[in-house]
């Protein structure tokens, strides 16, 4: 297992390093730099040069990259020129909201997608699978910005049950916080639940045809025990990989969901820093999303290898 982990890591590290170079280059491909933004449109060339010098932007790109990378490794993410505070602080504040959102969405997706997937895989009655299958297809085709607006129309505008926009930290007032959390989490979870349901159903159906399931039926296992003790555990490993890819994409979805429900998480911070040309934050946040994606992906592969010896022996 350790051998597999050691073999898997270099390629992940390579992706991270190349991605960091890409991310570092992105703001430098923009028209004008942070000094222009900071000095303002009316500044003289001398002022701009002075600002540029203060920010270290007059140094060679290689030196700038090395300084930035060294900062990252020591936990110094630089300073946001626009927000006038350390980037790490701004990201830390936003991260709380995004983590709340993504974790809640993930749990919801696993619950909804798991239930629908097992039902679709096990139940043979056509009318029942049609209904669940139809719901899954609809959830799959609804982009979060559509389902989000629909949820607001339904639960905030027509039956005023939940607040439309806003965020309350869970530790401050759990009851209120949950009310603010339900719609965003549901909205973010729907596409993931749908993907999960589809793959789980396919996997469950495959396992149902295995000989050991027939043996289980023959020796008189209750269907509940058969499904939950034998079929589902064997159907999970392939679904795990899909789940990993999906989790890596949660941050992308969070960008949209935060915009709908007026949350100020990582996605909102990223979009705003692009619009205000806050290049340090753009750089840090883009790299952050890549790191999350690569780490989740690598962990998923390791988990897959841990539960399935064929994976770690083959590679």
């Amino acid at each position: 297992m350790l051998r597999y982990a050691l073999r898997r890591c270099p390629s992940a590290l390579l992706v991270l390093v190349v991605a960091s170079v890409v991310v570092f280059t992105v703001p430098r491909l923009a028209e004008g730099d942070a000094a222009d933004v900071l000095a303002g449109p009316d500044a003289t060339a001398t002022t701009r040069e002075a600002v540029r010098h203060d920010l270290g932007l007059d140094r060679s790109p290689v030196v700038q990259y090395v300084l930035w990378a060294r900062g990252l490794l020591t936990g110094d993410l630089g300073t946001s020129y626009i927000l006038k505070r350390p980037a790490a602080e701004a990201i830390g504040t936003a991260l709380g909201q995004t983590i709340t959102l993504t974790v809640a969405a993930l749990l919801l997706a696993m619950a909804l997608g798991g239930a629908a997937g097992i039902a679709l895989g096990v139940v043979r009655r056509r009318s029942a699978t049609r209904v669940v299958g139809g719901l899954v297809s609809v959830a799959f085709a609804l982009p979060p910005y559509v389902s989000g607006v629909l949820l607001v129309l339904l639960f905030a505008v027509s039956i005023k049950l939940l607040p439309a926009v806003g965020y309350v930290p869970l530790h401050e007032d759990p009851d209120i916080a949950v009310q603010y959390l339900i719609m965003p989490a549901l909205c973010l979870s729907l596409p993931f639940a749908a993907v999960l349901a589809r793959f789980l159903a396919a996997s469950v159906r495959q396992v149902m045809d295995e000989d050991f399931v027939r043996t289980g039926v023959a020796k008189g296992l209750s269907s509940r025990r058969l499904v939950f003790a034998h079929v589902v555990p064997n159907a999970l490993p392939p679904v795990l990989t899909i789940l990993g890819i999906q989790v890596g994409q949660l941050l992308g979805g969070a960008i949209v969901v935060e915009a709908i429900f007026g949350w100020h998480g990582i996605g909102d911070l990223l979009v705003n820093s692009v619009l205000t040309r806050d290049y340090v934050l753009v750089q840090d946040l883009l790299l952050f999303t890549v790191v999350v994606f690569v780490v989740v992906q690598t962990l998923t592969d390791l988990a897959h290898a841990a539960v399935d010896p064929r994976v770690r022996l083959e590679a």
């Binding site: 028209e31 982009p143 910005y145 559509v146 607001v152 994409q249 941050l251 960008i255 979009v271 883009l286």
Partner: protein, 288 residues
């Protein structure tokens, strides 16, 4: 298309191929999907002719509900929502017609190049790894942070970049699975060159999977346009786009709940339509 390009050593195979396509195109999901997309895209393309009002024609009647004059009501400036939705579809016609083919061709070519040499393969694979580490919307943010800036160009570039590794990986897998087949060896024995084998023999056999992916990518393109414009890094108001319309309508749901209806139905219709086409083609072409 594939009917023509597929290498058909004899008439029987060609006929089987044609019937496979005929079947895939007759499945209810394919027909429904094609119908939805055709209706919406035609309406979008004909927008200048059939839209009841101009895109920017304002009136004093803001947030009007649905009526005979304004079938989908009016927005905050009294503009006709139906007309803006129709014009908004045009942005998706543009993205799907330009960005998806470009991304598909680039990705397929890179995927074929993987078959040329081991070192080339490794390099291209690592490039794909990096591209895939940026999820679609994050990639969109990155593109709009460069000199391209937020807008239609950013959307098109993003959709191209998202599709390149998708098609590249798919083609590469197909090349590798076909390479050991007897017919490829036969072609090698006869003395066909490497490039000829890739283009004339392997690519046509990979075509089915690529075509299903095109349908999925079209749906993804509509999704990305909507998401980028919704978040504010894509098409920006006052230019109409489905994502931007949805975003603005979300700010005024209390004043006019009907405002969001048009964009919701159209975006969902397009995404669902392309997904249905992909499902039908998948069932007809790939499942044996």
């Amino acid at each position: 298309m594939a009917v023509v390009t597929a290498p058909a050593p004899n008439v029987v195979a060609a006929r089987a191929d044609r019937s496979r396509w005929a079947r895939a195109l007759r499945y209810p999901e394919t027909v429904t999907g094609l119908a939805i997309v055709a209706v919406l895209f035609t309406a979008g393309i004909l927008a200048p002719l059939i839209a009841p009002y101009g895109v920017d024609a304002q009136s004093s009647d803001s947030f009007a509900g649905m009526s005979a004059q304004h079938l989908l009501g009016t927005d905050e400036f009294g503009r006709d929502v139906l007309s803006r939705v129709l014009y908004g579809i045009r942005q998706d016609v543009l993205v799907t017609a330009v960005a998806v083919p470009v991304g598909a061709v680039l990705g397929t070519l890179l995927g074929l190049m993987c078959g040329a040499h081991r070192i080339v393969d490794t390099i291209i694979q690592r490039v794909f790894d990096v591209m895939l580490a940026f999820t679609a919307l994050v990639l969109g943010v990155a593109v709009s942070a460069t000199a391209v800036g937020p807008g239609m160009t950013a959307i098109i570039i993003t959709v191209v970049l998202v599709n390149v590794p998708l098609f590249g990986r798919l083609t590469r897998t197909a090349v590798q699975s076909q390479r050991a087949r007897d017919y490829v060896m036969a072609a090698e024995v006869v003395g066909a060159g490497r490039i000829r084998i890739l283009l004339r023999h392997i690519l046509p056999n990979a075509m089915d999977a690529l075509i299903v992916q095109i349908a999925l990518s079209l749906s993804l393109a509509v999704f990305i346009e909507g998401a980028m414009s919704f978040v504010g890094i894509g098409v920006r108001p006052p230019a109409p786009s489905l994502g931007a319309l949805l975003r603005t309508s979300a700010n005024f749901l209390e004043q006019n709940p009907w405002y969001a209806l048009g964009p919701i139905v159209v975006v969902t219709g397009l995404v669902l339509g392309f997904n249905l086409i992909a499902d039908g083609l998948n069932r007809g072409l790939l499942r044996r």
